[in-house]
Amino acid sequence: MENFKVVRLDGVNLTTLKIIGFLDAHTAPTLEEAIQKLLDEEQVNILVDFKELSYISSAGLGVFMGFIEEIRSKNGDIKMCAMSPKIYRVFDLLGFPTIYQIFDKQEEALATFPQNSAASSSE
């Protein structure tokens, strides 16, 4: 059974990663690979859409921590949107909202990326 999935949506100067299911120590490498691939392609403007994520542990949070420094050093960023209150609480407990920009809605997040207009999913 597939319990975690990353769906990639490429925009003009931005890629949205929709993460779906459970993000724990078992599934974290899948997300790690997806972000590493973007870095390899020099795509450093990344929006992570949490709308369909139902669970996260510190192993999942660690993935973002592992990349953020490098991405910001290349003038990019990882921003986040559409977290359920349950997921946001875990971020909040660890003080992550001071490190990452987290938006309620995907549209709000998209508007903060430079020169972007086409990475929105049509759901």
């Binding site: 542990s57 510190s58 921590m65 875990v90 407990l93 660890l94 003080g95 490190i99």
Partner: protein
Amino acid sequence: MPKAKIEYKLRIPSQTENLEIIRFFVGKVAEKVGFAEDDVGKIELAVDEACTNVMKHAYTETVKDKTLDVAILIDYQKLTLVVTDHGKGFNPDKIRQPDMKEYLAELRVGGLGIFLMRTLMDEVDYDIKPGVRNQVRMVKYLINRKNSKIVN
């Protein structure tokens, strides 16, 4: 919440693919004994963090029987989670609470599991006997009971 003590046990291979099953097992028991949804989520995350630590660090390659035990003890007012492994153990005195300021400044990876366990649960302690058995014991008190009623 039952008045008599009840114990639930799960013995499972120490592999990350089993985290989902462990969370489901613990979550269902917590739900059934009356913890509110919020607390069920905290208990699931705490057991995940404890078991992830075992799966990542407890056993060396050469150990054949890599299993871990998750026990849940229910009594009148609390749920006690005990995670046991038979691996190499560690020195709990050397685990320090990460300084969040320092952590955020350095953007360090990892080491958050134990911090989370202490934040999510009411009590956390360790009993380490390297190579024999290592245990982490965590307690959550049943305060915010789901569907509770105040009776005058």
